[in-house]
């Protein structure tokens, strides 16, 4: 559209003409489909040579009594048109952006940036922490002790003096006549009682060592010891604590069973079985086959335990452990064994080979 010179028809009422102009201009702004059209409308209606501009410029020539109303009306039209223009301009810009973005397509099926990959805690660590947390919840503290241990704590103070027949059950690594690699976590019983007067509620996780090597025995493995000594701890309390443990680790439906056992440092001593979680204690799998996990018995042996032998208290009597005044229980369980049971690991040696194809199977761990 070519620009035409506009002569203000001053003979008419300029306010009428102003309304006409506003209508025309608004329609032109609405009709602008591109930024260029909009610019053309702006020049046409608000530009230097526009009729509205001429009206505004000629106000001074009007009779004094007309200047106010006409000037006001003209200005109002200008303000309104500018607002319309700006509004329309934003809308056109947004539309143009949308159109541009629409053309910018990527292959959404390509892989994303890999998340910073999470690693894995070892199965033994995962299991150890889980067990620790259960006992912490039951009011136990976690203490740790040396793996290179005195014969005294590993055997003698646990009621196994030299030449005690039970020593033959421990295939012991020696560093000297007096120093061994601990064969169990039990030496911390006496160490902990030396350090702390009763009551004492502790669990002791850690590495232990026996001179033995096959699919279910490695020269190094992991245990957790438990010890609770107070004025009135009973064998029935031991059963209660271990039932809570078994249910927390193996599932709320589990039951436990105590059988008589033998450990030189507990009396009475018990072996503890948990009802099998693979067959729910029935001994048979859903398809009727014998459950290989519990060998059809419905029970799995998980730990040894008992009431602390008075002879053990005898080694810490001056620390407040008078066997006539305090009593308590102790238990010891194999962390690796629990992990193998829970995850169906067939060979203990897999735990210690550092093969990531094994280590990555059990999630990140908590």
């Amino acid at each position: 559209m070519a620009e035409q010179p506009i002569t203000p028809p001053l003979s008419e009422d300029p306010t009428v003409r102003l309304e006409e102009l506003r209508g025309e201009a608004e329609r032109a702004i609405e009709a602008a489909a591109r930024a260029e059209d909009l610019e053309e409308a702006r020049v046409r209606y608000l530009g230097r040579k526009a009729e509205l501009t001429a009206v505004l410029r000629s106000i001074g020539q009007l009779p004094a009594d007309r200047r106010g109303p006409v000037g006001k009306a003209a200005n109002a039209v200008r303000v309104a048109l500018e607002a319309r223009l700006s509004e329309r301009s934003s809308a056109l810009e947004a539309a143009a952006l949308e159109a541009r973005l629409g053309g910018d397509r990527i292959d959404v099926t390509l892989p994303g940036d890999p998340p910073r990959p999470t690693g894995h805690l070892h199965l033994v660590t995962q299991t150890r922490r889980e067990i620790e947390d259960v006992f912490v919840g039951l009011g136990f503290s976690v203490v740790e002790g040396p793996e290179v241990e005195l014969d005294y704590y590993n055997f003698t103070a646990l009621n196994m003096p030299p030449a005690h027949p039970a020593r033959t059950l421990h295939d012991t690594f020696y560093l000297s006549d007096e120093i061994v690699l601990r064969t169990h976590t039990s030496p911390m019983q006496v160490r902990a009682m030396e350090a702390q007067a009763p009551p004492i509620y502790i669990v002791v996780p850690g590495r232990v060592y026996r001179r033995d090597s096959d699919a279910t025995h490695t020269p190094m493995f992991h245990q957790i010891e438990g010890l609770a000594v107070d004025e009135d701890i009973t064998l029935a309390d031991l059963q209660g604590v271990l039932l809570e443990f078994a249910r927390a680790v193996f599932g709320p439906e589990r039951e436990i069973r105590l059988r008589s056992g033998y450990f030189p440092f507990t009396e009475p001593s018990v072996e503890v079985d948990v009802s099998c979680f693979a067959c729910a204690g029935t001994g048979a799998l859903a398809d009727g086959r014998r459950d290989p996990l519990c060998k059809g018995s419905g029970w799995i042996e998980i730990l040894g335990a008992g009431m602390v032998d008075p002879n053990v208290f005898g080694f810490v009597e001056e620390r407040g452990y008078d066997p006539e005044r305090v009593q308590g229980f102790a238990f010891g369980l194999g962390i690796d064994r629990i992990a193998m049971l829970k995850y169906g690991v067939p060979d203990l040696r897999l735990m210690f080979e550092g093969d990531v194809r094994f280590l990555e199977q059990f999630g990140a761990g908590a």
Partner: protein, 810 residues
């Protein structure tokens, strides 16, 4: 301990299956590792038969054709290869259809043209002995057609019991029967050792042999009896069957009697050929230094003075309690027997057998301490069998050296104590009943009805010494299944992890969250491995009895386990791995150190190793597993620990397994708590892995340093920060830490943080210089900093930088 169930049932026979018996025993503490089924597949079709006629086989010299009456009507024809078959014999017959021990079914057969309907049995064919020389000849009183199983244990279950070391009484079939009696209440047969044989003759045992204990501290009791007119020969079928099922090979009646007694009562015996006992004299003494002898198994043994010997007038004839010698062994020509039943000192026997590396059925029992009464008890049953099975004459009298006779032990049991320890109410009469079934004598203590006076039987003497031992007896037999389930009424006990334990978990989690996988490696390693790390091996802890040379020393650092794992994964095709381990390391204890009560220097370390590269994807390159990659991981750990730290160059030769130019000590709280760096190429070559880097941190030290720092509130300034980027040109050998130190020294407290964001080297700088670009954040707590303030700070920074040979780049 293998317990044939048919034998067990002769002493105690509850109306229970074998599996139920095993369950009862397991609940009270004697667990069957497995139950083995012995003998024929089914007892059907095994009967007693009478041989009516025997004829030579027409086509085979060694075979006979027998007519056998087996109660089924007409006699059956059986072809038999045994040389001893004869008309008139009573024999064991398997009819066609019988299922043999191997599972195969016997059918009708034709042997060299004669059809044979069944089989006349030898011992080994039904698993009750090893004899295959001839058929079994049975007692003629048996009637044809009677089921064979009624007379011979041709089918049996064997409980393979795991007997606890405190229960030598259960290394005996009668002892197991007593347990079964106590658990089930089923009647217990009289003790088979209760009655004695009748001696005959007017001579005395002392007339035939003499006995002396030289060292009574190694022998509690030594008894011996003398038998004459002994006819050595095979044992009867029932005895062979029992021994075989229990895992002992039948040898001859005399030797079998000693083994039978051991299995029945738990007391080992030894039979001497009295005519081979030199000087007819038995001397019990310690071995002399340098003395040696040949044991029954033909092995020459060297002895030490702790070992007890049974000698004759001229020298050792047996290692006491462990194994006899060849000198006076019973043979087929023996006619006079000296039967020994002795009581040795348990720990002494255990020590001897351990040092000799020789554990026998006898030593396994003696080492658990038998009671002197058992010796004489065993002599009684052995004598009866010697008379009965060997036709022997028992010479009156017993040679009995018993220096310090033991008196029965009594132990007081407070019923209240029993209840408070078990947390269970057990009726008083049940307590008494359990103890009495187990063979204890119970009477009410005069002073209180709440206390029992309990007499311990000899066979439990070693094990039951205290009140608590009696409480265990009651608990296990009354039934642990009946125990209530309660929780401790806790007092003053709050459970939680310590700060150090939580810190360790955070540090481990920090590595896990950054993509590292935890390994658990063995605590021991090979001395050569330490050498491969270019370490000297000083101060290593070594095992005196390692399983293998590759596990001889305790590792002084975690790195070798991480390298082993990296190497193994590389061999599986995973060259790039990022691993960590959290575990103890070990060293010889420093002379003055008593660290954490360990007899060694033992610390908990956290070690990490990354090989090849980390990360990377289709749009980003992986980062090399180098010093800075590892340092970034370490920074993550230190942030998790909330600790300030710095890396310092290591002293030359200090960490020989690291690249000397790309190694640092980790310093926190002015303590060196670990190392960080790229692994020396000579080390990676040893492990056949690519370039790798790692760090190792003493987490106990980390926790100690962390425990010494505390966090307190600092005012958060409301005044704005001024950010300034500077570029510092310094000579190459000035470290970034040194530059930062200079900047901080110049800027003072208003410098709140610095961040190094670029390192530039280029021609404009000239050879030997580098430019470090840093972003500085200034903030004053009390006012807005002006341009003039910052300009003044810049000047002071510049003059500090000059001290280290640096300048600000325009």
């Amino acid at each position: 301990m293998r317990v044939p169930v048919s034998w067990l049932r002769t002493y105690c026979d509850p109306a229970l299956s074998t599996a139920e018996i095993a369950e009862q025993l397991a609940a009270s503490g004697t667990e069957a590792e497995r139950i083995e089924r012995l003998g024929v597949g089914s007892t059907d079709a095994f009967v007693v038969g009478k041989v009516i006629a025997v004829e030579r086989h027409p086509n085979a010299d060694r075979l006979s054709v027998c007519e056998v009456e087996d109660g089924s009507g007409a006699p059956r024809t059986i072809v038999c290869g045994a040389p001893n078959v004869a008309a008139g014999q009573t024999v064991a017959v398997a009819r066609p259809g019988a299922v043999m021990p191997g599972g195969q079914e016997l059918g009708e057969a034709t042997l060299r043209g004669v059809s044979s309907s069944g089989m006349i049995l030898a011992e080994d064919e039904v698993g009750i002995g090893e004899d295959h020389e001839g058929i079994m000849v049975l007692d003629d009183a048996l009637k044809a057609g009677e089921p064979l199983a009624a007379h011979l244990p041709i089918v049996d279950d064997v409980l393979d019991l795991e007997v606890e070391p405190n229960r030598p009484d259960c290394l005996a079939v009668y002892g197991v029967a007593r347990e079964l009696h106590a658990a089930t209440g089923a009647p217990l047969a009289d003790d088979p050792t209760a009655s004695d044989a009748s001696p005959s003759g007017s001579d005395r045992a002392e007339d035939h042999a003499s006995l002396e204990i030289v060292h009574p501290e190694i022998c509690l009791r030594f008894t011996a009896r003398v038998f004459e007119d002994v006819r050595v020969g095979p044992s009867p079928h029932w005895l062979k069957a029992r021994l075989t099922a229990a895992g002992q090979r039948p040898i001859s009646n005399v030797v079998d009697i000693t083994n039978y007694l051991m299995l029945a009562t738990g007391q080992p015996l030894h039979a001497f050929d009295l005519d081979a006992v030199r000087g007819r004299r038995i001397v019990v003494r310690r071995a002399q230094e340098g003395e040696g002898m040949t044991t029954l198994d033909g092995v020459e043994r060297s002895l030490d003075p702790e070992m007890a010997l049974v000698c004759d007038a001229e020298g050792p004839s047996g290692i006491a309690g462990v194994m006899g010698g060849q000198v006076s062994e019973v043979s087929d020509s023996t006619s006079r027997v000296l039967m020994e039943a002795a009581t040795w000192v348990g720990p002494n026997i255990l020590g001897s057998s351990t040092r000799l590396g020789l554990r026998s059925e006898a030593s396994a029992r003696f080492e658990k301490q038998l009671h002197p009464d058992e010796a004489l008890a065993a002599q009684r049953l052995a004598s009866k069998l010697m008379v009965e099975l060997c036709g022997a004459r028992m010479v009156p009298g017993t040679l009995d050296a018993y220096p310090r006779p033991a008196s029965p032990r009594t132990v007081r049991l407070r019923l209240e104590r029993l209840r408070s320890l078990l947390g269970a109410e057990i009726p008083d009469d049940e307590v008494r009943g359990v103890l009495e079934r187990l063979g204890f004598g119970v009477s009410v203590d005069g002073s209180s009805a709440q206390d029992l006076e309990v007499t311990v039987p000899s066979f439990r003497d070693a094990d039951v010494r205290r009140e608590v031992d009696l409480i265990e007896e009651v608990a296990r037999v009354h039934g642990l299944a009946r125990l209530p389930t309660t929780l401790p009424a806790r007092r003053r006990a709050v459970g939680r992890l310590t700060g150090a334990q939580r810190l360790r978990r955070r540090a481990e989690d920090a590595l896990r969250d950054r993509g590292l996988t935890e390994i658990v490696a063995y605590s021991f390693t090979a001395p050569e491995t330490i050498a491969r790390l270019r370490l000297t091996g000083d101060g290593l802890l070594a095992l005196t009895n390692p399983l293998s040379e590759s596990q001889r020393v305790m590792r002084p650092l975690l790195l070798p386990g991480l390298l082993d794992a990296a190497s193994r994964n590389a061999a599986h095709g995973r060259a790039a791995v990022a691993l960590f381990e959290s575990a103890h390391v070990y060293g010889a204890r420093p002379p003055d150190g008593t660290a954490n009560g360990s007899p060694a220097a033992e610390r908990h370390h956290l070690g990490a190793l990354a090989t090849d590269s980390l990360g990377g994807s289709w749009r980003s390159d992986p980062a090399p597993a180098d010093f800075y990659a590892m340092r970034g991981l370490l920074e993550g750990v230190m942030q998790a620990a909330g600790l300030d730290w710095r890396a310092e160059p290591v002293d030359a030769g200090d960490r020989p397994f690291l690249h000397p130019g790309r190694a640092a000590s980790i310093v926190a709280g002015e303590r060196t708590i670990g190392w960080l760096g790229e692994i020396h190429p000579l080390v990676t070559r040893e492990w056949e892995v690519g370039p790798c880097a790692g760090f190792e941190l003493d987490v106990e030290a980390l926790a100690e340093v962390a425990a010494g720092t505390s966090k307190t509130y600092r005012t958060v300034s409301t005044f704005p920060a001024v950010l300034q980027d500077i570029a510092v040109v310094v000579p190459e050998d000035v470290s970034a830490a040194r530059v930062e130190e200079a900047v901080r020294a110049g800027a003072g407290v208003t410098l709140r943080s610095t961040e190094l964001f670029d390192v530039y080297r280029g021609e404009q700088l000239g050879e030997g210089s580098k430019s470090l670009a840093m972003r500085l954040e200034f903030r004053a707590p009390d006012r807005t900093l002006t341009d003039e303030d910052v300009a003044a700070l810049r000047e002071r920074i510049e003059s500090q930088l000059e001290e280290v040979g640096g300048r600000l780049r325009a």
